[in-house]
């Protein structure tokens, strides 16, 4: 049933057009109203090889609502092939064609039978939000575009993690995850960002393993891949930020994939020494600039709420106040996610609230005693709240309006240092009038 979206944290399923946009030389074709895509592409970094101005769109009008939009869809697809070069065309349906009953799947199948690289995903806005839309689009690519491989390539691991564009750090995070796997002797395969694209998509069935680094988003994807290509998967729920989580992550991946333990331990040893080399050099600043109190809240999707919480507790030594998971997580995943928030050093447990109503979140936070100056990690909605509370504020969760993030990453040992930099830059700036 309809519910209030006050301080919006997610978008509709068709926003998964950004999942397509994150794949080099893949382009969405929209069977939707003329303005849907423009409303959805609101993050920085969307003027790539194809941008929203370029996406073919049937731009459904009143006549189509009455008589159906199939003719227009067919001509739009046909002409997309003539006008635009792409490796993969992904037809996405908005609300209107699904209500009026256009048979989009059938039309796309005709083009598939002609051997065109085209798939179709049902992403009506009322069906789900864009986190699930992301899964829907990936499953469509897996189901309609890929065939089982003749043989697996040993050590090849597909990595599935952040939802592109919803996670501002997606581009950097995928590269950082690849690097970590490469270090322990595996061959990573990802499809998002610089120079990945169609060739990597084709490699998906050849992978020996799938690795999902996410609390819940993507689980249906790795299950699809398991069913279709018999590829076992490791579901690692926490985005590894900083030394503690990255070392845990490497051991878990190493164990699952059968990587050489002595290599894994050597990588961990070097990573931790590297991490603490810098922390040691800057520790006095961190300690002496602890103008913020030791308590914090994260207001973000499960990926960030959990990842940041683990880092701030296990590496930075802060104490969690209530954490807010805001992307309308399906009920069936909530218990497992909440349990992860209880797995922290020294038996520390973080209370977590699955809440989509930003007004309620703000009302609660205003009544929390942070024992001093709070640290708020959240979306741009939290800027004013933080000013009101006099809090330190890091805009690391969607929507991000305070920073331009090109390829910065929060993942790994390196990523942990970056979070340290960002946090204590806030502290330093607060002194520098």
């Amino acid at each position: 049933m309809a519910k209030i979206i006050d301080k919006q944290r997610y978008k509709c399923a068709m926003s998964a057009l950004q999942t397509v946009q994150a794949i080099d030389h893949a382009i969405p074709i929209l069977h939707s109203g003329p303005g849907c895509a423009a409303k959805l592409c609101i993050e920085a970094g969307t003027s790539g090889h194809y941008s929203v101005n370029v996406f073919p769109c049937t731009s459904i009008n009143e006549k189509d609502v009455v008589f159906g939009g199939e003719k227009k869809l067919r001509s739009t697809i046909e002409n997309s092939f003539k006008v635009l070069d792409a490796d993969l065309y992904v037809v996405l349906t908005g609300c209107i064609p699904e209500i009026i009953g256009d048979n989009t799947g059938e039309i796309v199948e005709e083009f598939q039978m002609d051997g065109k690289p085209i798939v179709y995903a049902s992403t009506a806005g009322f069906k789900s939000n864009n986190y699930i839309g992301h899964e829907t689009v990936l499953n469509a690519v897996f189901q309609q575009f890929l065939e089982p491989a003749e043989e697996k390539i040993p050590g090849l691991v597909n990595i599935w993690a952040d939802v592109p564009y919803m996670d501002g750090y997606w581009a950097g995070n995928y590269r950082a995850l690849e690097d970590l796997l490469r270090k322990i002797g595996l061959t990573p395969n990802t499809i998002f960002g610089f120079d990945r694209g169609i060739e990597n998509i084709k490699k998906i069935p050849q992978a020996e393993f799938n690795l999902l680094v996410s609390p819940w988003v993507g689980l249906s994807n790795v299950k699809t891949l398991e069913r279709k290509f018999k590829t076992p998967y490791l579901h690692y729920p926490t985005l590894p930020i900083g030394a503690t989580e990255t070392s845990k992550f490497l051991r878990a991946v190493g164990e699952f994939t059968g990587a050489d333990p002595s290599v894994v331990e050597a990588v961990i040893d070097e990573g931790e020494r590297y991490f603490y080399h810098y922390i040691e050099r800057f520790a006095d600043i961190f300690i002496e600039n602890r103008v913020m109190a030791k308590k914090f809240s994260v207001i973000g999707d499960a990926q960030y709420a959990l990842g940041i919480t683990k880092f701030l507790v296990n590496d930075v030594g802060l104490v969690p106040e209530k954490q807010y998971v805001v992307e309308d997580v399906p009920k069936k995943f909530q218990e497992a996610i909440a349990a992860e928030f209880k797995e922290l050093n020294f038996g520390i447990q973080a209370e977590v609230s699955f809440e989509t109503d930003g007004y309620k979140i703000h009302q609660e936070i205003k009544n929390i005693d942070y024992n001093g100056i709070p640290l708020i990690v959240g979306g741009s909605w939290e800027k004013d709240l933080s000013e009101e509370l006099g809090a330190f504020y890091l805009n690391a969760c969607w929507p991000i309006n305070q920073d331009i993030i090109m390829n910065k990453s929060y993942v790994g040992y390196e990523g942990g240092l970056t979070v340290f930099e960002d946090l204590y830059t806030l502290a330093i700036r607060s002194f520098n009038a």
Binding site: M1, I4, I5, M14, P34, E62, V83, F126
Partner: protein
Amino acid sequence: MAYNIETSNLATRESRIGSITGYIGSMSDLIEQTKCGTLKGCDRCFSQSSMCLAGCALAQLGTLRDVAVIHDGPSGCSATSVGEYVLTKQVADRDGLVNHAVYVGTDLNEKDTIFGSAESLKDITVEIYHRYHPKALFVSSSCTTGIIGVDIDSVVDELRQEITDVPVIAVHCEGFKSRMWASGMDIAGHAILQLVKPPKERTNRINIINFYGSLKKEITEMFHSFDLDPVFLYANASIEELETLSEAICTCATCGTVSQYLANGLEELYGVPFSRTINPCGVEGFETWLRGIAKITHREEVVEAYIAEQRALYMPQIEDIKKELQGLHAVIGMGPGYTFEVSRVLAELGIQIDWALAWHYDKQYDNGEIPPSVQFLDEHKIDFEASVADQQNYEVMNILNHFKPDVYFSRHPGTAVWAMKQGVASVFVADEYMIYGHKRTLEFAQTILNTIRNRSFERNLAKRTSVPYTDWWYEQKVDTFFEEGKDNGKNNRQAAV
């Protein structure tokens, strides 16, 4: 046109005033066909994503002071709330105000499409009323609620029983009903007209219909010196200001597209004269705009003195810089409220217009007359190749590829970069006041020179990236995908062979 503010619904620009989104030919032919009544628009069998009227209407209403917009639709429809919030805060901060406007969605889901969302919409609106105590509530439909038949008028009628101290207005925003997002400007204007009360007195207030009012301070000082009191809308306009728009001595505007429905309505319904002139871009535009206001408000003397002062300050430099701009070639792609104004300014500066695209074209405004900007081009015989395309990027790129102009002028998010990917220097005329008056006209000319002086960024970008269009497309005529009305221009010289 007869305004009917008793009903919340409003016909689209297409059906009300015959506006079109497809044409190719020349400016003189476009005007000729407009006058003869032979101009017909056309659809395309291939199109690219553009914008919808809901985005336009609610973006305007959402910046009003301390209001609430409740957008009844799936979560994508209200995604604009993110940018709207930032914009509202920024613009209020600039004006030294606090604006508590909120924009919320209803996260409509599949069940709602079967059982309807009227009850939840009502509950959510009441909840927002209690949370924020807004000064007015705008309850909007979406494509989905329009098709499933949620009757927002009935919902609003019921809400008015419960919410009695502030206005609750139904806003009909089914995005599919018009190819023109500018229809959304009219929808916003229609919502405002429902708030306006009959005048109690005539004042020396002047209504300025603009977007965000970046020069509010400067323009306010100018009008104060004429003994006029400006009221700016939409951004930051308070409900009290809107209620008394009828008491103004005059309405003026910076953009015909955003203003004409509301301004003509204020004149027809309440006798507030609308100063219908070209907009204040460029020297000619600014002086004509001010003189139009002066005539209605009987301020000729002070206004002429002000113009003389500005001329003395800036004309020598403008005349000088014009020499440097002579012979430059340009392509323009903007909404008609700017394309037909900026083309006039470029002509004034001596820049050759290779081609101008307007995202739509109004044969007339709601007073039944041809828009002043178009009349001006006709009277001064300023002609160029022209087309009408609702932001169809592939058509723009085809035209740019053919002409390879010195500079491309655009105004809409995400458009300027595409010219640059093709190696063409680009000036983004984002701010409505970028070419306002003598001083800004000089700065605009300087910006053009600075833009073409260093072409490193676009040259490097074009060299190291590729555009996604096929060679085939660059060999086609611009109107290849027009479904009807091809070659409807007498002077149809398409970009490509």
